[in-house]
């Protein structure tokens, strides 16, 4: 086959052989006029996207970004205009996406996993100092006062907070965590002095401001050396001087109100005083493998990590085994030449697979509800199914078996049909019982076809986020360990750490992701090795 000589293919060749072994060289050059026009149109469109992408980078002065954009555009031009790069023409679109949104994030996860990145350790040291100083602003006698309108850039719930400020003369300013700039073109209500419209900002209603009161409390606009603007209530703000001031000499922050001195700790990325108390705002520093060490050696965290890991393996194994057992049993039951209503049975049995799994997980959660759920209603009980660790685990597994067995049924039916019925019959003629014939003849042949499917089902369920998050959110949580729930999988634990707790802990979450990578890789390598898939690559 062609694979024999493919080693030389693609290498630049000198002296044209009769049939040039260029990649794709056996294809005719050129093409139809329509094809050429389409190609030119697509390349122009791509160039336009490139220019569009480069403009904001130019405005931001991000030269590295512009270089990357230019390099990608150049690469695309080279590949689609050269005649030597036929395979690349087909691979490039998918590969670009793969690199940008899968490979880069994986690498970025790895680099994040060795930092302390979290809420309170987000930016650099300067930002942390500015935030500390602005936050400590207290109200002096006769300081400047402003009428405040709270706004955001982006959506009211998640956008960055901005203070739109109106001073006594009616001048308007916009202040964010970087500093204050003049705001032109804003509409001001003459009565209250509040800004009623400003281009580029979303003004918040009082209810929306209330919803973000936590953020508002931590928010201050730095206005210069040791001064800042803070909100006082929902519609007033004042400028004052900071009680906490940074001193470069000693690399420390002194609190003039209490006299405490906080020294910078470059290893932990925060300011600490002599008693070991820290200021809330810190900065991002590398912490080496500390994040990993915490999950492996710190008694409390290692305890939850390993119990989650064990449950994770048990969950994936149990679901894989049960869906296989049920699916195969149903397939065998229907595997007879004549059975009245076979088509109807098939349709009914496959139904769970054709429903939206997301909605069905939520449905199962509600069926297990203590007060109103279907199960308690039908059984006349008042069991808190999802509140007890073992019933919650059983509930999660049950819901997944319901959703997963039809797939196994379909696959097993296909595999059974491929096995000649005569084999089983021959075994029975030789004196084997039906069970023995199945166990020693049909099942081994079936497993050949089913093993890869079982491996992928296991791998899928190992990280089946929806299965747990939508039913129990990882809970129930025991009072002595509120971070790790009884049904938590590693992925739900990671998600909660990064996106669902009061303080987001990206560094730890990234370290957990890397550990899931490692666990899954070890399992996949072992299983691929055993199924010899890698050796058959052609």
């Amino acid at each position: 086959m062609a694979s024999k000589n493919h080693d030389s293919a693609g290498a630049p060749t000198t002296g044209a052989p009769a049939r040039p072994p260029l990649p794709g060289g056996r294809f005719a050059g050129g093409g139809s006029l329509g094809g050429q026009i389409l190609k030119i149109a697509l390349l122009s469109l791509f160039t336009a996207v490139g220019v569009y992408a480069a403009l904001p980078l130019y405005v931001a002065g991000n030269w590295l970004g512009i270089a990357v954009v230019a390099a990608v555009v150049a690469l695309v031009y080279w590949i689609y205009l050269s005649k030597r790069t036929v395979p690349a023409k087909y691979l490039l679109p998918g590969v670009l996406f793969l690199i940008a949104f899968q490979i880069l994030p994986v690498l970025y996860t790895m680099s994040t996993s060795v930092t302390n990145l979290s809420d309170g350790h987000r930016g650099g040291k300067e930002q942390a100092i500015a935030a500390i100083e602005a936050y400590s602003v207290s109200r002096p006698e006769g300081g400047a006062e402003y009428t405040l309108t709270v706004a955001t850039t982006g959506s009211p719930e998640t956008g960055d907070l901005v203070f739109l400020l109106t001073d006594g003369e009616g001048n308007t300013y916009a202040g964010d965590s970087e500093g204050m700039t003049e705001l032109s073109g804003a509409t001001v209500d003459p009565g209250s002095g509040k800004v009623t419209e400003a281009f580029g900002y979303t003004l918040l209603t009082p209810a929306e401001v209330n919803a973000r009161s936590g953020d508002l409390e931590d928010f201050a606009v730095p206005t210069g050396d040791g001064t800042g603007i803070r909100a006082s209530g929902l519609s007033a703000a004042f400028e004052g001087t900071a009680t906490r001031v940074y001193d470069e000499e000693c690399d420390c922050i002194t609190d003039s109100a209490t006299g405490e001195v906080y020294h910078a700790d470059e290893e932990r990325g925060a300011f600490y005083n002599d008693e070991g108390q820290r200021l809330a705002q810190g900065w991002q520093v590398g912490v080496g493998f500390d994040n990993f060490a915490r999950f492996l050696f710190n008694p409390t965290f290692a305890g939850s990590f390993f119990s989650i890991l064990v449950w994770n393996v048990v969950f994936a194994t149990a679901v894989t085994f049960l869906v296989f057992a049920v699916g195969l049993a149903v397939a065998l039951t229907l595997h007879v030449p004549k059975l009245r209503g076979k088509t109807a049975y098939r349709l009914l049995v496959v139904l769970p697979y054709a429903m939206s799994s997301l909605a069905m997980y939520l449905l199962w959660r509600d069926m297990f509800n203590t007060d109103f759920g279907l199960f308690n209603q039908l059984l006349g009980t008042e069991v808190d199914w999802l509140g007890d660790p073992w019933t919650a685990r059983a509930a999660v597994i049950l819901a997944n078996v319901w959703l997963g067995y039809p797939y196994m049924f379909l696959v097993a039916t296909g595999a059974l049909q491929a096995i000649p019925r005569e084999l089983g019959q021959a075994a029975q003629l030789d004196g084997a019982g039906p069970w023995q014939a199945f166990r020693h003849v049909t099942l081994p042949m079936l497993m050949v076809a089913m093993t890869p499917i079982l491996i992928s089902t296991f791998a899928f369920n190992f990280n089946n986020f929806n299965a747990v998050w939508l039913i129990t959110k990882g809970g129930p949580f025991s009072p002595d360990d509120p971070t790790a729930g009884a049904t938590d999988l590693l992925i739900t634990y990671t998600y909660r750490m990064a996106f669902s707790e009061a303080t987001a802990q990206y560094g730890y979450a990234a370290a957990l992701s890397v550990m899931i990578f490692l666990v899954v890789s070890v399992m996949s390598v072992v299983s691929l090795w055993r199924s010899k898939t890698l050796k058959e690559v052609d």
Partner: protein, 301 residues
């Protein structure tokens, strides 16, 4: 043995009704019993959700397994009180565009892997398999942090936009599905495209005019699988889409029962059925490809 045989044969013609029933029960009857049990297990949640959707009271506590009344009040509430049409449009946008582009990108790559021999081909194929060990959503923390910055530079692909999340989804376009497609491409005889080249067809013409029509079944099955997994995707969507109007139907339903589990259950049920309808429809139209495609090793996401 030889002496017994005729008697046994004759005996089978003269079975009493009870014996015939016993034989039927042993051969087929138990299969009906098993299937009725399994079918009941399969349909009771579906029956419950349909009954709850029609339930005039619209609460979880009043919902019964069997419909007690029929009204469209829940559907009306869903349309009136929530941005249901926006949610639904968002869900369909992601599912359809991701499925379409993924099928295209995957087919292009599979064509190169199946029909061309080039340096790095084996590495590429094994690499695709290795990347499967790192599902994209595991890198969600990094993707979130990346897009916090990307959204500031290009707001058009930031959080709460359709294009940003679609880009992320497309990062997973080359995957095990490419393997599935490559395997199918390999079964198309090489003579077909070689003869077309003899007639002067370019590689692009061979791909679009000859290969694609011949591999429609695998395109359909990959499209179906991507469609289903996208419409049910929760993790990344929940991180990207926070704004109520940007949400997909799945996220919207989650929010609906999260806040008011009992009272909103009727609306949720209508939404759950609506979310399942596209999946049911694709299943119905593609059913003849499903068993074949599934046995070749694709996994529902």
């Amino acid at each position: 043995m030889a002496a017994d045989a005729p008697g046994a044969t004759r005996g089978s013609y003269r079975r009493s009704p009870a014996a015939r029933f016993a034989l039927w029960a042993r051969r087929l009857g138990w299969r009906h019993v098993v299937m009725i049990v399994v079918a009941a297990f399969a349909i009771f949640p579906v029956l419950f959700v349909v009954s709850a959707a029609l339930n005039p009271l619209g609460t979880l506590s009043s919902a019964q397994l069997w419909p007690t009344g029929a009204s469209l009040a829940n559907a009306q509430d869903l349309f009136r009180n929530t941005p249901f049409t926006t949610w639904y449009a968002n869900s369909l946008f992601f599912a359809v565009s991701n499925a379409a582009v993924t099928v295209l990108l995957s087919a292009l790559a599979a064509y190169a892997f199946s029909r061309m021999r080039f340096r790095g081909r084996r590495v590429g194929l094994v690499g695709l398999l290795v990347i499967q060990m790192f599902p994209q959503f595991l890198a969600i923390v990094a993707i979130y942090l990346m897009f916090s910055n990307i959204g500031e530079i290009w707001p058009v692909v930031g959080f709460d936009t359709r294009w940003g999340l679609l880009l992320v989804y497309l990062g997973g376009a080359l995957s095990i599905n490419t393997w599935l497609m490559k395997g199918f491409f390999d079964t198309v005889p090489k003579e077909l495209d070689e003869s077309a080249q003899m007639d002067g067809a370019t590689h692009a013409q061979v791909f679009f005019r000859i290969m694609l029509p011949l591999v429609t079944p695998v395109l359909a099955i990959v499209g179906l699988l991507v469609f289903i997994s996208t419409i049910n995707e929760f993790l990344m969507a929940s991180v990207f889409l926070r704004d109520t109007d940007a949400k997909t139907l799945g996220l919207g339903l989650y929010q609906l029962v999260e806040s008011q589990r009992n009272a909103n259950f009727g609306m949720f049920s209508v939404g759950a059925i609506m979310l399942s309808l596209p999946t049911l429809a694709v299943f119905w139209f593609l059913q003849r490809y499903i068993t074949e495609g599934l046995t070749s090793g694709a996994v529902k996401g």
